[in-house]
Amino acid sequence: MFKYLFAKNEDIPAGSAAVFFGFSSIIWFIIGTGLGSFNAAKLAFPDFVTGSYMFAFGHMRQVHVMAVIFGWISMAFAMAFMYITPALGNTKLWSEKLGIWTCFNWNGGLAVALCLMWAGVTSGREYTDFPWPIDLIILFAVLLPLGINVWMTIVHRKTQGIYTTNWFFGAAIFMLMIVVLVGNLPEYFSLTGLTEAYLTWWHAHNILGLWITPVAAAIAYYTVPKITGNPLYSHRIGHLHFWSVVVFYSTPAAHHLMSSPLPEWLKSFASVEGVLILVPAIAFVSNLLLTMTGKWHYFVDNIEIRFTITGVMLAIPLNMQGGFQQTRAINWYVHGTGWIVAHAHLALLGFSTFLEAAAVYYGLQTILRRKIYSLALANFHFWFLLIGFATYWISITIAGLIQGAAKIYEVPYIDVVIAEHPYMIARWVGGTMVFTGNVVWLYNMWMTARAGTPVPVGRLPHEIAYER
């Protein structure tokens, strides 16, 4: 990577930025899930590594969250931008060199930011925990160059139209920049009180709604048609998805603060808008599942499609939960419980991780022109991820329901802690399975780069998956 930082743009092989982003994302996934497993062990066994400033739960919890969101998920997105955007424009990436610099800044910046946060330097605001100077560095040294690269690639495309995936990519980076800029207003200007609380959750909601959810969905709009060979079922439904994300998903931020004294009109508005996120969700899921028509055997025998369609199907419970759990009647029961934690993992570790993993698998094989090193290890990764995630999700959902019942019946809190203990152990087991699967994944992709069977010119990796 370092030798390309100062190379001429023409001398950098096409796809280099995507490869570096791909491997970075896998490494951050291992770090993030490793921290997650460590934190879960602390919740299950409170005397595990205790009494030390550096390894206190309160310092490590947000490092896990930020490492998976801005290390794994967002870097996997960046990898997808670097190879899918040019592929869909029938062109090259606008600047490989800029892409490499973005990757370099991102890895360095994130490592510094997470170390500081680990040491206790925090703004004390969930999901925007980084102090504002670091947020501005992320904005101008990472997101802006990333955006310029994607936008310029789209502008210089050699196709007449812009495919659905690229609308999402181009728009999502722009929206993310707005969200980071506005969401940190309380820190630049020392805003306080309800304004600060509301902007914190406005930022948190929109990071998920305008960045993670649409970009993950856009990746599926590429991988499913590309691998199955079926055209996208409907571009009209893609339009519906895109516009309903912009209109509906950007508005329900206040539903995160239903029990705070925010204006009632805002809470009611957010709640109704929150149900309307079912519009993009149904558009997305139905479009992708109908694209699979006649090619469902890929769900069994192709690893990328299996990841993608699993992610698409996890979007169904995700959005059923997401649409309704924020209505006042249900929020009253589940707010602040493990249910929400499980829901967050369904979104990030279920839905979006499976879609991104497919993009990373497919992208690395395509760019490196090498068949996956071991399909058996890829299957191992898939099942460890799925079973680990499901263990986590189911156990913490149950724990959340216990907590919710205890909350409304006003059970002494210590009884909740005791009742949750078995589920905390299950959460740790599930998280550790995900971590283990990811270590295997890194080995598999590393060996793919080193020793995978070369893909002949004119063929695609998935076509020869079962050929020896």
Partner: protein
């Protein structure tokens, strides 16, 4: 991009996103802006100081540059006995809270009273100041307001601090910083929920209770009791000390981490704290081979645990 559809599309995108931001940012700001601060909000704003998260004064969240809450029992100027009152002492250079720097957030009535009766406009950061929460009448109704007693009664920060015993000084502002840095709010919320948490955790916060507080640190993922009113439920320093040092001493089923490292190197008498010995003794107690748990050391007056305890006890 010279494609007519994309011109329409980009404009529609601008309208859609702009409209969404109009509704979710601009319109709420109008409603929230008009909220008047309550007495609770004033007390919190004055006792926490400018910002409890990352700031120039305190980039590593050590509790620097924060005010002291001092219970004043004697008039520091005359020495006469007075009814005890909490004063918020900002020594020279301590950044003033948003309520002073930016009094617009207080609401019309409190802002007017603080300016006219409380003379907060005369307070200067480089001189330091002492503030009280007083009550006054505005257009026939009673409101709390901020009184700059350095201007109204000549109570300077030095006088107030010199007249107070150490036990009357509470490091509430530094403690809020500890609360943020140590991530207490990842498990303990500061937001009892409407209709259901009243019995155990007390009333939900009212509108105006947060004006001037940053970060609010409501918390979102409750794994432990709500703390908004914890100081009213449990004000035993001994219990809290044991609970922070090792929660399993007072609650065997607790999953809270140990915060013994906040004691620092030395105890109240300046002796080194032998953590290894303490843990060995505790393990023997936990294993049942010794009858009594080891004693929790008294904390030093300038230790981080002192800050945190003072903050937790201030949550009434």
């Amino acid at each position: 991009m010279a494609f007519r559809e994309y011109k329409i599309g980009t404009r529609m995108f601008g309208i859609a996103l702009g409209g969404s931001m109009m509704i979710t940012l601009y319109m709420p700001s109008l409603t929230i802006y008009s909220v008047g601060v309550t007495e609770t909000g004033l007390v919190k704003g004055l006792s926490y100081g400018h910002n409890s998260g990352f700031s120039y004064e305190d980039p590593f969240l050590r509790g620097k540059g924060k005010p002291l809450t001092v219970t004043v029992k004697k008039d520091p100027v005359t020495g006469a006995d007075i009814d005890p009152v909490d004063a918020y002492v900002y020594t020279a250079g301590t950044p003033f809270p948003s309520a002073i720097r930016n009094p617009d957030i207080l609401g019309r009535e409190v802002q007017a009273l603080s300016a006219d009766e409380g003379r907060v406009g005369e307070a200067e950061e480089d001189q330091g100041a002492v503030f009280l929460v007083s009550r006054g009448d505005y257009e026939g109704e009673t409101f709390p307001y901020i009184e700059n007693v350095t201007a109204t009664r000549d109570w300077t920060a030095e006088l107030v601090l010199a007249a107070a015993a150490d036990s009357d000084k509470q490091h509430v502002g530094s403690g809020k910083t500890m609360f943020v840095r140590e991530g207490c709010w990842w498990c303990h919320t500061l937001l009892p929920e409407q209709t259901q948490d009243w019995q155990y955790f007390g009333l939900p916060p009212r509108l105006g209770d947060f004006n001037g507080e940053a970060p609010t640190a409501f918390g979102s993922d409750r794994k432990a009791p709500d703390l908004l009113h914890v100081g009213s439920r449990n004000s035993s320093k001994e219990w809290l000390m044991m609970h922070f040092f090792n929660p399993r001493l007072v609650q065997p089923h607790s999953i809270m981490p140990r915060f013994d490292y906040l004691w620092g190197e030395v105890d109240a008498n300046g002796n080194d704290i032998d953590y290894d010995q303490w843990r060995a003794d505790y393990n023997a107690y936990a294993a049942g081979t010794s009858i009594y748990p080891p004693e929790v050391p008294d904390y030093a007056p300038n230790s981080e645990i002192r800050y945190l305890m003072d903050y937790v006890l201030s949550l009434k």
